[in-house]
Amino acid sequence: MADFSLKAAPVLGGLDLSIGQCKLVERTDIALISAAVPLDGRTAFEARLKTEWNLDTPSPATSTRAGPMRAIPMTADQMMLAFEPGPTLTEASVHAALDSDAYTTTQTDAWVILELSGAGATTALERICPVDLDAEAFPVNGAARTTMEHLGVLIVRLGTDCFLLLSARSSAQSFLHAVEISCDWTAP
């Protein structure tokens, strides 16, 4: 057996940028697991989220959060669990916890996760995001899947001026370019 152990590499190298009034960070500390609700299994699934993490089931346009765990709506019968893994909360422990009540798939590697924050964040997003980000229409915890510069994006509002943007890992550079240019071109 050869002596190699593989080192994980974030797709954007753990990028951390300030552009104008925006801050743009690659979040490499978030694990993602999709959970599909079995047909006729919604009640059990919702109960499981509650007992495991005291987590409410998200509505189609709003994510829910409890402690380290956030549930983001993905499709009518599927959601994404996003969490910062710790000693007890791991990808394996989440798979195991949901075991018979959901069909789970690790998605950590399928996405690039950018956190866009700062006073210029919504103005920057105006240039690429077709979803209405007005605080009334898209309040904190609001979530939507949409398209930005031809790329599928899952956007979650973490705070008034703070957004989580998930897009496909393979096109991470193109996505970064789209967001970066938006920050730069709207900078005062």
């Binding site: 057996m1 050869a2 002596d3 190699f4 152990s5 593989l6 080192k7 994980a8 590499a9 974030p10 797709v11 999709s34 599909a36 079995p38 047909l39 006729d40 019968d77 599927q78 069909y103 798939t105 690790t106 998605q107 950590t108 590697d109 399928a110 996405w111 105006e126 240039r127 690429i128 995001c129 077709p130 979803v131 209405d132 007005d134 229409a137 510069e149 031809h150 790329l151 496909a168 890992r169 393979s170 096109s171 991470a172 550079q173 193109s174 996505f175 370019h177 789209a178 240019i181 071109w185």
Partner: protein, 967 residues
């Protein structure tokens, strides 16, 4: 003398002076000027030449309707032709030149066209350049092209950048004049989310250009106060320099915001932003456009719309002339005289058509000098202010094909029929031609929208003003004039062209437009369409509404192509997808090929290799002789889970899947409902309720879409769930006789012997001491092969580690070209064969297709074309003389048959050079091909000029029994 025509007053900042150049001459202006107002201030009257006759032209209007004063702005690569001097906001260092002349503006040699005008009337091109036919391409067209058009393009890449964006509002208010401001105040106060957009850099519209009073203030001051109140509202977004150019479906409006056009330097920011505005409601408050009247030589510099004259005097503090005559058919025109006199400008005569006085001709070589009236009278004037009445700006109301209706009392078309849903119209755009009525109508419109949308906030009191008098008598055309009278200034269409069009039978409005080019210039006939209609109506003895009006389409004013493209230029035309080993591949000599959005390594050049074939041949041989590795992460991967996952797969694949054991992989053939092969790939069963499907790279998105359709629409009660994992895994194919030995070094504690892990086995495992992985024993190359997948974050480390370990086996990375060679050698079909016309029989897979179950494609397997006796079948091809290179696309002919469709036997789909066999090989479809192995045929390619003999063989050029991959 500098700015000799500058007078008191106006909304310009006299504390600052700006320098600008027109035709290389330096002049001064003030912030708040347009190029047009600055030129007039500096007594520049001649600013361009007309399109066809190269007549001297001056400034005609004070807004976006300008037909005459088109200039080239900036220089070098940033040069922009056909920009309207009347809308160009002055900045320090502005550089503009006149256009459409050869030689100087003053001495344009093409002005000879004006003398030829009797020959250049409507339809001239159609009639003249028909004969002789051969002259068109060689002679006429080049000459016409050289003379045609107005400005010239720079011929260089646009140095500016452009952006797009998305905005949302309760109500979009289009136009910030009296109506727009009143509506915005009411809506903003009520709490609606308001966007107020205006094409001008200074909001206020006619309030800035007239001497009205609103709420006891002069109108321009009231506009400023209204804007101050609106600016303080968080729910109101003021968008200056923004043209709403189109009304699209469901409350979506297109708008172009000019971000840096008014700055000397964009600072690297986008020049313009193309906004998509989503509105619940919209109020069109776009005002009205004044029109001219047709009389002799009415195109001379100095002939100007009366409203524009007031704009220059009141808003810009510029006298467009020192001795001004006024020609009007309405009361509005008379106010021009009052405003001029109030500024101390001499009004030489007011000519009121309603009293029987008309202008029959004008003279003055490069600018107006004398105005001739009926009854042999004349008057000296360097400016003639003309008002033929106002046409409501109904354009956006027609963008859903609504037709405007005629109102005789204002002699104009007003919005009629069905407006775009959600749109209301207020003010002059609605035909409300007086101020007090406009303000209250706009206020009421906004208040009722607020109530409709459930906003109960107070809208405040409507602004108060007096209604000025408005009496107009339709008057269009001074018929006693013997001289040419222009209808469309920009396209040089005269009344004579219109009457000729009528005489020659082009009488419908749409024909008139195309025959004379009336209204087809960059101004889209804003000042000319009504006049043209009126002259046509007169010629045909019909009323104007009977004559009709053409359809208005977006854009309201021209939108640069750069703005429509936005960021989608060059390498940013579309997103790029990179494989997990991309960085490593780039470091190791890979050249990349675009496959869809993916960049894949096509081969890895090594020092000393003189061409791509050297690299590809080496990669193929290295793989076949020892072991090679290829990044196959681009293949679509779909995680399929659920109690009914197996049953679901059984419905979407043509072959059986119910009994696939856990830990096994099966090739899956996917058909369309019409029986044609759609996609293929392998699907692995990881657990009782868990499968992973792979698709071709090209069809990954489409297959996912179709599976969702099957899941939601066809079998909605199956418990099955899909999620794409394409990007989640870095997957490598490791192929070749030494692949087992290499893999044994990589995976932890797994027996890879043929007995323990046979062909088509799969398992979860770990690699390099604990990294999670999935291992599949599948082969596309036909060799003993594995695919190993690790989470994408380990992809870069994985390829580097495997390459290190592989040194002992001379492990060679291979690209898509070698992949292609090996699949052709092995006779595996790919996109060239699966082209949307291929069924299972053609590729020899009919035995795989289940006849016992229903699946997508089951019902239409036996259409006549599919079961014909001489159907096409996949074969292999080899050149009879082995040093000949085969050509894909060549058609097969039996020796001695003529080269025609009747004798066509099929065609070559894929070719490659097989380094193992040492000659060119091919795959192809041949009629009854499976039974014709050994036969010699002609491969005939008239396109490539090739006609060679080929021998038909099995499509499996290598290892037909599959011994290697099962070994």
């Amino acid at each position: 003398m500098s700015q000799q025509n500058r007078i008191d007053g106006g909304q310009i900042d006299r504390t600052a002076t700006l320098n600008f150049q027109f035709n290389e001459r330096w002049m001064t202006a003030h912030p708040g000027d347009t190029l047009a107002s600055a030129l007039l201030a500096n007594n520049v009257r001649l600013v361009g030449r007309s399109f066809k006759y190269h007549r001297p032209r001056g400034i005609f209007s004070a807004g976006s309707e300008e037909p005459n004063a088109l200039v080239q702005l900036r220089k070098g690569a940033a040069l922009e032709p056909n920009t309207r001097a009347t809308t160009i906001e002055m900045f320090d260092g502005l550089y503009a030149t006149s256009q459409n002349h050869r030689g100087s503006l003053e001495r344009d040699i093409l002005a000879v066209n004006d003398l030829l005008s009797p020959f250049l009337s409507a339809g001239f091109y159609y009639k003249t350049f028909m004969w002789p036919r051969a002259f068109w391409e060689k002679l006429y067209e080049p000459i016409i092209r050289a003379a045609a058009g107005l400005g010239r393009l720079s011929g260089q890449e646009d140095p500016d950048c452009y952006d797009k964006g998305f905005l949302h509002c309760d109500v979009l208010i289009i136009g910030a004049g009296a109506a727009g401001l009143a509506a915005a105040l009411a809506a903003g106060r009520a709490g609606l989310k308001v966007i107020l957009a205006d094409e001008d850099f200074r909001m206020g519209g006619r309030l800035n250009a007239e001497t009205f009073e609103v709420d006891g203030k002069d109108s321009a001051s009231w506009a400023l106060a209204a804007l101050a109140e609106l600016s303080a509202m968080a729910n109101v977004r003021l968008m200056r320099r923004t043209t709403v150019y189109g009304a699209f479906d469901h409350g979506v409006y297109g708008a172009l915001e000019r971000m840096t056009d008014h700055l000397p330097d964009s600072g690297g920011k986008p020049r313009q932003v193309l906004w998509r505005i989503y509105s619940k409601r919209a109020i069109l408050a776009g005002g009205a456009t004044e029109r001219s009247m047709a009389f002799g030589n009415n195109d001379r510099p100095g002939v100007m719309l009366a409203g524009a004259v007031r704009t220059y005097v009141n808003r810009f503090g510029v006298a467009p002339g020192r001795n001004v005559a006024v020609f009007t058919n309405n009361d509005d025109g008379l106010r021009t005289a009052d405003d001029l006199r109030a500024k101390g400008i001499n009004v030489t005569r007011v000519i009121d058509a309603r009293k029987g006085d008309v202008v029959v001709n004008t003279t003055g070589r490069k600018g107006l000098h004398t105005v001739f009236l009926n009854g042999d009278r004349h008057v000296e004037a360097d400016c003639l202010a003309v008002s033929g009445g106002w046409s409501p700006n109904v354009h956006l109301t027609c963008h859903h094909r609504g037709r405007p209706t005629w109102r005789e009392d204002i002699a104009g078309f007003v919005p009629g029929g069905e407006l775009p849903p959600g749109m209301a119209v207020a003010g002059a755009a609605a035909g409300t031609m007086t101020l007090a009525a406009t303000l209250s109508q706009a206020h009421e419109t906004a208040a009722s929208i607020a109530a409709d949308l459930g906003y109960s906030g107070a809208t405040g009191a409507p602004p108060k003003a007096d209604d000025e008098t408005f009496a107009t008598a339709p008057f269009w055309h001074v018929k006693e004039s013997k001289h040419r009278a222009w209808v469309d200034l920009q396209n040089d269409v005269t009344t004579k062209d219109v009457t000729q069009s009528h005489r020659e039978g082009f009488r419908s409005v749409e024909h008139l437009k195309r025959y004379t080019t009336l209204g087809m210039a960059t101004d889209q006939g804003k000042t000319s369409n009504m006049l043209g209609l009126a002259v046509m109506a007169d010629a045909s003895g019909k009323t104007i509404p009977e004559t009709g009006t053409t359809i208005f389409r977006p854009p309201y004013t021209p939108v640069p192509l750069g703005a429509l493209a936005g960021r989608a230029r060059g390498k940013n035309f579309r997103p790029t997808r990179l494989t997990p080993s991309h960085t490593w591949a780039a470091e190791n000599g890979a050249s990349f090929v675009e496959t869809g959005a993916w960049m894949r390594a096509e081969w890895y050049a090594r020092p000393g290799e003189t061409g791509w074939r050297d690299s590809v041949d080496r990669e193929v041989l290295a793989t076949r002789q020892s072991v090679g590795i290829c990044d196959v992460s681009t293949l679509g991967k779909i995680d399929i889970q659920g109690r009914d996952a197996a049953e679901f797969l059984n419905k979407v694949y043509a072959n059986a899947f119910l009994k696939l054991p856990v830990g096994k992989v099966r090739y899956g053939l996917m058909l369309r409902e019409d029986g044609t092969v759609y996609d293929d790939g392998t699907t692995a069963r990881l657990g009782e309720t868990h499968f992973v499907m792979t698709t071709t790279t090209a069809n990954a998105v489409l297959v996912f879409r179709n599976l969702e359709f099957a899941r939601q629409c066809l079998w909605p009660d199956l418990d099955v769930h899909l999620i794409s994992t394409t990007d989640a895994w870095a997957q490598f194919s490791v192929a070749g006789p030494n692949s087992r030995a290499l893999m044994q070094e990589i995976v932890d504690d797994l027996d890879l012997s043929n007995e323990a892990f046979p062909f088509m086995a799969c398992t979860d495992c770990t690699v390099f001491g604990g990294t999670p992985a999935r291992l599949f024993r599948i082969s596309f190359s036909g060799e003993l092969a594995y695919e190993i997948a690790v989470p994408a974050r380990y992809g870069d480390a994985m390829i580097r580690a495997v390459m290190s370990v592989g040194k002992a086996f001379d492990l060679a990375p291979y690209g898509t070209e070698a992949l292609g060679v090996m699949r052709i050698e092995k006779g595996h079909v790919a996109g060239n064969e699966l082209n949307g016309q291929t069924d299972a029989r053609m590729i020899g897979l009919q035995g795989m297709v289940s006849r016992k179950k229903d699946f997508i494609g089951a019902a239409l397997l036996d259409r006549p074309e599919q079961v014909r006796e001489d159907g096409l079948q996949l074969v292999g091809l080899r050149p009879v003389v082995t040093d000949v290179i085969l050509t894909a696309g060549a058609h097969f002919l039996s020796p001695g048959d003529p080269e025609d469709m009747t004798h066509d036997q099929g065609w070559m789909t894929s070719v490659a050079y097989s380094p193992e066999l040492g000659h060119s090989i091919g795959l192809g479809f041949l009629k009854r091909g499976a039974a014709r192995h050994g036969e010699n045929l002609r491969a005939y390619s008239p396109i490539r000029g090739q006609d060679i003999m080929v021998k038909v063989c099995s499509p499996h050029h290598l290892d037909p029994e599959g011994v290697r991959q099962r070994g």
